[in-house]
Chain length 125, copies 2
């Protein structure tokens, strides 16, 4: 598997699963970073465009993007001068699964939820 793909899955080399949860949850524990993820849900964006709506220096946003990237929640690809940021939602999967071990409704209705997914999803998952 290519290194980038690993990082996109939160499987940074030398990072065990617990440490991956650490970095993912820590990355999510900041409103600026959650807002960035929400923006990237719409479309890929350049760093400057990500920074635009925030009242904060470009360097600060660059740091936030670094944290999101190290957590595997986004990937960054340089094309010419501009660095494009892309959401990697698969990195949330392990964290989501961990959480679903606790939620009452998820626990109770997990089977129904999986039946729901199977019925609603296209086959390419």
């Amino acid at each position: 598997m290519p290194v980038d793909a690993c990082r996109a899955l939160g499987l940074n080399s030398g990072m065990d699963k617990a440490h991956a949860l650490d970095t993912v949850f820590a990355a999510l524990a900041d409103p600026t970073r959650r807002a960035i993820l929400g923006m990237l849900l719409e479309d890929d964006m350049a760093v400057t465009d990500v920074a635009e709506p925030f009242e904060m220096s470009l360097a600060a946003i660059s740091k936030h993007l670094g944290i999101l990237s190290r957590a595997g929640l986004i990937t960054q690809e340089r094309r010419g001068r501009v660095v494009w940021c892309k959401l990697e939602p698969d990195a949330l999967r392990d964290a989501s699964i961990w959480m679903q071990g606790f939620g009452q409704f998820e626990a109770v209705h997990l089977d129904a939820f999986e039946r729901f997914l199977q019925s609603e999803l296209p086959d390419d998952t």
Copy 2:
């Protein structure tokens, strides 16, 4: 609604939803605290018993429990000398819902997913 119930739902007074996500995710970003939550999944526990498996001072565990409590993830009730800790999994609900906005399969089928939740959940939400 009683204050304790509000705290159990992560609705601490004066804490808006974004701040609630901050504290919940921050609380989850530590392996000791995640382990504690896992232990409380089995049963309610006294503070001393929570601390027993960790190579760490009791005061440190007490702080961790305070963080989990302020995030609404547990409640603590004093009975005599001992303080009992109880898991409050409902506090994970908002965070879980927020995350499910990002998973690829969930994103595509979010409307259907919400219909699913509405049909499967009890009415007391």
